[in-house]
């Protein structure tokens, strides 16, 4: 298929349709309302369902009900709206329901602002709702990757019967880039055997997260935990940029921040300073072993985590590197995006090089 110039938000909507997901529930919120606007036109063309809900709280449960049919369902929102969906996320994780959510992050906490941020990392990766659960979290760094990961998100949701979140900052949603969609649009998969399809010739099926018997509840939590172990073993995704055996420093960054770091790395290279980038693509599962493997290489003297937050992913990096090398941090938040120059200065400081 020919390349198209598309805004990230609209490309995400089209990517879902590519994946055979034509059932969308949402509430408008900046900076991703274009997804709903796009899909309100597009879904009727493909026989899909578009519902503008009364709140993100309702969206969460519309997704629960819709996912119970066994069809592919999704929503898109931004930070405050995603907070309102955390209760339903906990319920859907507990009930083993496949669903895809997109969080085009803006600055917080509270109402915060409407400019790009990465300050929902904790909420996404550590479980924003109550209970023993995780969701798969994928972080694209370009519009094309948002399209590819969106399609993957539906496959992973179905494969593991779990909610999957695509997490991008406002830049991913708002910028226009050329994208390519797959030639073949998928037909929606047929409803699964666990779905509610009517008790015809079988016992009634119940989809729930309620287990009053502690033994049964523990069993459900252990089933979830087992699922996460498989996900940790099989679904880690990351990308290395200019990582070699001469670099003295390794940067950790994801999403748009990783692209800015790439520019900084290119410019530092011209100055004769070799720096590599480790970009986690799956934030849960986190590339723990892969990070450790890179960090212990003898040429690496120092590490730097760069985020559009006051430091959230860095806690996972610390967990991975177990104090092996000195780890620094640079971040801006509140909607401020660090420039390549700021990243370069942070790299030099971490390497003990003067200004």
């Amino acid at each position: 298929m020919a390349k198209k110039l598309m805004k990230g938000n609209e490309a995400i909507g089209e990517a879902a349709i590519c994946a055979g997901a034509t059932n969308y529930f949402a509430y408008p919120i900046t900076p991703q309302s274009e997804v709903a606007e796009y899909l309100s036109r597009r879904l009727p063309e493909v026989g899909g369902v578009f519902v503008q809900a009364e709140s993100e709280v309702a969206v969460g449960y519309m997704l629960f009900g819709a996912a119970s049919t066994g069809k592919r369902v999704f929503t898109t929102s931004s930070s405050p709206g995603i907070s309102l969906m955390q209760e339903a996320l906990s319920y859907m994780a507990g009930a083993h329901l496949p669903v895809v959510l997109v969080n085009i992050m803006r600055g917080g906490p509270g109402l915060g602002g409407i400019l790009p941020a990465q300050s929902d990392y904790f909420q996404a990766t550590k479980g924003g709702g109550h209970g023993d659960y995780h969701i798969i979290v994928l972080a694209p760094s370009s519009v094309q990757e948002a399209v590819d990961l969106m399609i993957l998100a539906f496959d992973l949701a179905d494969k593991y019967r779990t909610p999957v979140m695509l997490i991008g900052d406002g830049m991913i949603g708002q910028m226009m880039e050329s994208v390519e969609f797959p030639e073949q649009y998928q037909t929606p998969p047929s409803p699964k055997e666990w779905a509610l399809t009517g008790a015809v010739g079988r016992k009634p099926v119940v989809i729930k997260s309620l287990f009053l018997d502690p033994i049964a509840l523990e069993k459900n939590s252990l089933e979830l935990a087992k699922k996460y172990e498989i996900i940790k073993a099989d679904e880690v995704r990351y990308e290395l940029y200019k990582v070699n055996d001469k670099n003295k420093l390794l940067i950790f960054a994801y999403g748009t921040m990783a692209r800015i770091c790439q520019t900084a790395i290119d410019e530092l290279e011209e100055e004769g300073i070799g720096v590599g980038l480790f970009r986690p693509i799956s934030l849960f599962p986190f590339p723990q072993k892969e990070i450790y493997r890179e960090v212990i290489k003898p040429n690496i003297k120092a590490l730097l985590t760069v985020e559009m937050s006051v430091g959230q992913m860095i806690e996972d990096i610390e967990r991975c590197i177990v104090g092996q090398k000195p780890l620094g941090f640079y971040g801006r938040t509140g909607g401020i995006v660090p420039s390549p120059d700021e990243v370069k200065a942070a790299v030099k400081k971490q390497l003990g090089l003067g200004k």
């Binding site: 009517g198 008790a199 009634p204």
Partner: protein, 255 residues
């Protein structure tokens, strides 16, 4: 005649064999049976999906012989919306109490009704929070004593009980909205008729439908089952008038 007796004495196919956890004298059992009889009579058991609430009927999925989802507190109408939009061929009902529907789920019920979602709501109003132990509900009567209104509901701070059937009837979107009671056989027959009518509108893909059913809570009212029935008649019926508040035909007549 013999056949009718068989039906009355046997369990509807839409009810499971499980023994309910409801307190002695509670009228949930009657309402469950009315819904199950309706499902049987309309021949829809194999294409029905229910949504259970949080409250005394949280385990309703154990008692109905149909597919079920368990909702979060108040969110049953949103879940029913998501399900029914994707499966318009199926019959969907929510079964909700007054705390669930009229307090924490007020937003969801009003907007589902206003969008004209084609599912049926069985709204059980017993003027109290049952499962959590008898606290004040949005439907608790003025002066009624509960564990969180020990001196009686004070309308100057808690406001007046919400009449959900009337409130939902004020929406412009066509719907079937009725209120019934189950404290007396005559009213039980009327409640059954209204519940059947609500499901029939859904089968005809006509409109949103809701039947509010006045119910008892002997345990938390602190009354015997029989005195509870009298209490409902004497105290709830005057505040919550029975009747059909709205039908989709009203709209046609207005035009």
């Amino acid at each position: 005649m013999a056949q009718d007796v068989d039906i009355i004495l046997s369990r509807p196919k839409a009810l499971s064999d499980n023994i309910t956890h409801y307190c002695p004298g509670c009228t949930h059992g009657i309402i469950h049976r009315l819904v199950a009889e309706t499902i049987d009579e309309l021949g829809i058991r194999e294409r029905t999906a229910g949504v259970a609430p949080v409250g005394c009927s949280v385990l309703a999925y154990n008692y109905f012989n149909v597919d079920f989802m368990e909702a979060a507190h108040g969110r049953a109408p949103a879940m029913a919306t998501g399900f029914k939009r994707l499966r318009p061929d199926m019959i969907v009902f929510t079964y909700q109490g007054d705390g669930d529907l009229a307090s924490i789920g007020m937003g969801e019920i009003i907007h589902a009704a206003n969008r004209g979602e084609k599912f049926t709501v069985i709204f059980v109003n017993n003027a109290i929070y049952g499962m959590t132990g008898g606290q004040m509900a949005p439907t608790t009567l003025p002066g009624q004593k509960t564990t969180t209104s020990p001196l009686g509901r004070d309308v100057t701070t808690a406001g007046y009980p919400i009449r959900m059937a009337e409130l939902l009837s004020s929406l412009r979107t066509p719907a079937y909205i009725a209120r019934a009671a189950v404290h007396d056989p005559m009213y039980i027959i009327d409640a059954k008729r209204k519940i059947k009518r609500a499901f029939s509108y859904q089968i005809a893909n006509k409109c949103f439908s809701l039947v509010e059913v006045l119910s008892t809570c002997p345990t938390n009212w602190g009354l015997s089952p029989t005195v509870s029935l009298e209490w409902l008649e004497k105290n709830m019926r005057p505040y919550y008038p029975l009747g059909t508040f709205k039908t989709p035909e009203d709209e046609v007549e207005k035009k």
